[in-house]
Symmetry: D2
Subunit: 345 residues, 4 copies
Amino acid sequence: MRAVVFENIGSVRVAEVDDPAPKDPTDAVVRVSHAAICGSDLHFLHGKAPIDPGHVMGHEAVGTVAAIGEGVTRSRVGQRVVVSFSIACGACWFCSRGQTQLCEDWRNLGAGTFGGDLAGAQAELVRVPFADVNLLEVPDDVDDEHALFVGDILTTGVYAASLADIRPDQAVAVLGVGPLGFFCVQAALAAGATVYALDRDEARLDLAASTGAIPIHVGRRHPVSTLQDATRGRGADVVIEAVGSAPAFESALDIVRRGGIVVVTGVYAGETVPLQLGVCWARAITLRFAGICPVHAWWERAMDLVARGAIDPIPLISHRLPLTEAPSGYDLFDRREATKVVLIP
Amino acid sequence: MRAVVFENIGSVRVAEVDDPAPKDPTDAVVRVSHAAICGSDLHFLHGKAPIDPGHVMGHEAVGTVAAIGEGVTRSRVGQRVVVSFSIACGACWFCSRGQTQLCEDWRNLGAGTFGGDLAGAQAELVRVPFADVNLLEVPDDVDDEHALFVGDILTTGVYAASLADIRPDQAVAVLGVGPLGFFCVQAALAAGATVYALDRDEARLDLAASTGAIPIHVGRRHPVSTLQDATRGRGADVVIEAVGSAPAFESALDIVRRGGIVVVTGVYAGETVPLQLGVCWARAITLRFAGICPVHAWWERAMDLVARGAIDPIPLISHRLPLTEAPSGYDLFDRREATKVVLIP
Amino acid sequence: MRAVVFENIGSVRVAEVDDPAPKDPTDAVVRVSHAAICGSDLHFLHGKAPIDPGHVMGHEAVGTVAAIGEGVTRSRVGQRVVVSFSIACGACWFCSRGQTQLCEDWRNLGAGTFGGDLAGAQAELVRVPFADVNLLEVPDDVDDEHALFVGDILTTGVYAASLADIRPDQAVAVLGVGPLGFFCVQAALAAGATVYALDRDEARLDLAASTGAIPIHVGRRHPVSTLQDATRGRGADVVIEAVGSAPAFESALDIVRRGGIVVVTGVYAGETVPLQLGVCWARAITLRFAGICPVHAWWERAMDLVARGAIDPIPLISHRLPLTEAPSGYDLFDRREATKVVLIP
Amino acid sequence: MRAVVFENIGSVRVAEVDDPAPKDPTDAVVRVSHAAICGSDLHFLHGKAPIDPGHVMGHEAVGTVAAIGEGVTRSRVGQRVVVSFSIACGACWFCSRGQTQLCEDWRNLGAGTFGGDLAGAQAELVRVPFADVNLLEVPDDVDDEHALFVGDILTTGVYAASLADIRPDQAVAVLGVGPLGFFCVQAALAAGATVYALDRDEARLDLAASTGAIPIHVGRRHPVSTLQDATRGRGADVVIEAVGSAPAFESALDIVRRGGIVVVTGVYAGETVPLQLGVCWARAITLRFAGICPVHAWWERAMDLVARGAIDPIPLISHRLPLTEAPSGYDLFDRREATKVVLIP
């Protein structure tokens, strides 16, 4: 089959590789109809995370079950499914409590050695371990493209909003409205809140505004005073930090009202900030670090929201390319000329 | 009347001052039967917070209503009541939502200019503004001494435990079991959890153990590995940080399990710690800074717990002195020879 | 002043009565700008509930504070306020827990002896006991007409939706979309749910549909199968019963899915239904009888929803009449020719 | 192997039957170390529910995994496990939401045709479908006898208590303290509540009292007034109905306070009661019909409570018999001379 493989730092290519087959009785193989390029794929491209040449890339995919092992009971051949970007066992202490992101056997499709050496999803076929856990059936009234992001970033937005237990009478600020923030905005709007989208990128702000958020260009207006003006001087009830940088984190602490909550869903690695304990204490702030999304605990609710049109992923897709043109898809995305690239095998 | 007044840095004395009377229609005056000396009174004694000579000290008191203004409807003369250490208006945006610690007109008994210039409660009589909000009736089956701490530190413990939404199947670590930690331990036990009391003071550990907690002397056993051993390698589901120091805060982050919650109830002022965002993110930690307790939203539940014996404050009281001996009470407490001193006017 | 008073069964008239003044220090008097006629006013008109001739009618009003007693601290003369239809003490065991509808001193404006003999609000002036509890300030950006129903039926809808803890991924059926159901629909929509409005009155269905609900004419389509078709055979996650009749109650039990929740917000008196315990048990149903709304615990959230346009009461108002024309307003409403009549003193 | 089989109405016997083996790849076979006789086994004995002669009885068992199909990933041969009394698929809409009692493929061990024709657990070996879903590992520090009831009635008690969201400051009445009520009592105590055990059987009341509940003999004291006296006139915050009879249901409605909650966990079939809608409405009651317990969603928490001693099942066991003496075990239990009989193969 054809697949997008890592070549070396800075380049991927489309190669012919062996077709995968179920190895364990709980495996399934999915024939991919649409795969997407994610921001974290660029980490591998740039050499920030190790991956071997020839490793198949990608972890966002939707398609049809092509084969199942003997122990698979939930999926059946021919079923349309979306694939979870993270592979959980479904059985350990954390999985049984819905915290599949803390799975004791946590793996990641297309993420090299540290991801558990699983071939990725930017390919004609992808093998999915523990298929009963890591595949979700797509309802008849949802097409493949609408379902694609439920396996990853769309559900991450739903999860982030849920961590703040958003209510309709609340003012929610989403800091950073790239692909993740775009879905956080829609999830907060779906929960009925008044949502402020903060960014300095015009196109992203326009996209957020088109879903119903109030755009705030943080290069032109001061976010703290803007939010205070909108909330009779208090600040946002909830801030969702969807950037993943130290300045964004610190800005979130400034924007949230006393007694409010900050959800940190932007991805962090080695960043450190000086935390003023007295200020957080006096302001009675709650800080929830989302971590990686436990997709499996939330994707059914996310799919329901897509099915009824409360969350619409389509405006995020700027490019649709055949799988064979994946290298130019990576280029476009890396140069920020694409908001989201979908590859069609 | 006689009252304990600030003299100068390092000394208080008992002085004759004017009897208070209701000034505003919503005021009450309470005849104090028992007052206590609190750790924060020492801040004034040591000059860490400004207070004028002659200012009446103290904010923990129980007694009987002696006089009420015309607008008081809930309290009546002769009623036994406990006094809230903090004086809330009961009517602003935050008060209406139960967050009385964020009251827009927040004041504090016996706390000098920054507390709103209200005379304190270590006296024969104390004036209490917004009496309907800031006094709680003591049920017949609870005596004054049992009720005394419901106006402050006992309820703070109940509130801290509630912030973590403690369940019976959880392992809770209370870091620091001084007076505040002592009540956090009991509140967590009342919620059914397995509770670990961490300290390096033998007497405090004994006191915590006597209520049913498992004592861990952090000078002799490593808290992280001890908690891990007790939880099949995971760490505590909930950590309540009741010390108020940067090392304690950092230790709390080490002890909590992935996906767990840290409640910060120890009092902080200018401390700053470097917060490793990536570690918090990967571990999916929730940090709840309790801030000052919204006593008014929680003290009825706290009083119920005292009434039925689920929380017993009496073991904490090491000394009972006549009000006239307040200076030696301050001395004992300041030298850490007393766990809690009660003054009887 | 002029006021609408009960004359005898079947008739009200506009009479000259004494101006009210504060009697207790916690009273306020409100100059009414808009009052409304409520379905329960008709109970008095029809003699179903006892009321003396000459008693001032009505309990839905908005206006400006004209006078306050000495003990009032939250309201001030000149403040725009909405009046709670029910008068709570704010201080008893139930009030302190936010269950003001169970207040041990519960009273009702304009409801005769059983309501505590308080003159009603369809008048130029109305006396409001415990003004700090029973008046809510109207924000500058909300006009009087938008605020009017926050004191009663609008907030009742918000409360009913909250009892079901509605989430965006849920299917909610509102049974009966008269004035109360109209607000239940909007509250459920504000929480992000897919909402089905069930009724057999075209005009009511049109009104509900105009807010975003999916109308189902129960005379033409079978409600159970219609809801099942819409939910892949399961039935509604939540049913809000807003009619108040035995058949409606029984229909609610049929429409809700296994494991779902029925909120009973329609008003019941002597109705009895045979409850099949085994069916409820096997289907794991939750039944929440809302009872009278604890307005005071929910009206700030309701006002926020009005302020941001998430709930719009205006389409419900079919008639605006001067207070002097109240008798014809009662006629129109009684003959169901008006959805809601507003009286302007 | 030897197994307890149904003979005809009124009698069971121990017979030699074929050893079970995994049929589907997701099956496991468990070697039973302890099985129990449950109240619902008597329904089959008495002919109230249909079962064929020769069908193996029983659904409460603990033991060791003897064989697994190829698709089993969570269980391994030699693992100590407790068996869920109900067999869920783990994959349907309801299972994915933790409502495994509403599983679209719900089955029941040892329950004849209506249970899905699965052989029961009162045998040397039992086949368990969807083993990864329906077996729970027993921790090293819990012995088999302590784990036995986690697969059924103990966890049902934990679930019932959870439905009421019991808090430490609440008064909980458990109506009927047979085996199910015994565990409801302990679960409510574990959540910190004050628990009243209501029954007219001295031995059951003694057993409940030994765990910390306050016994009330309903033949000697009036339950409504007794509970009111204990709660300053209000009534119980929570009532758990664990009898399963119409009079018990009606009594629960009388005992609960206004604004309180009734959990119906007793088993109902055809019973009907006249429900006074106006009374329930005016008192703002919540009624939660528990239905069958979704064991799988709660048994890990239940096992934790057993492991730490918060729930102790041992006092409930009155008889331990070899499997070969099962007929006399059924006799003893049927004549109410045994509280719980354990069979040891």
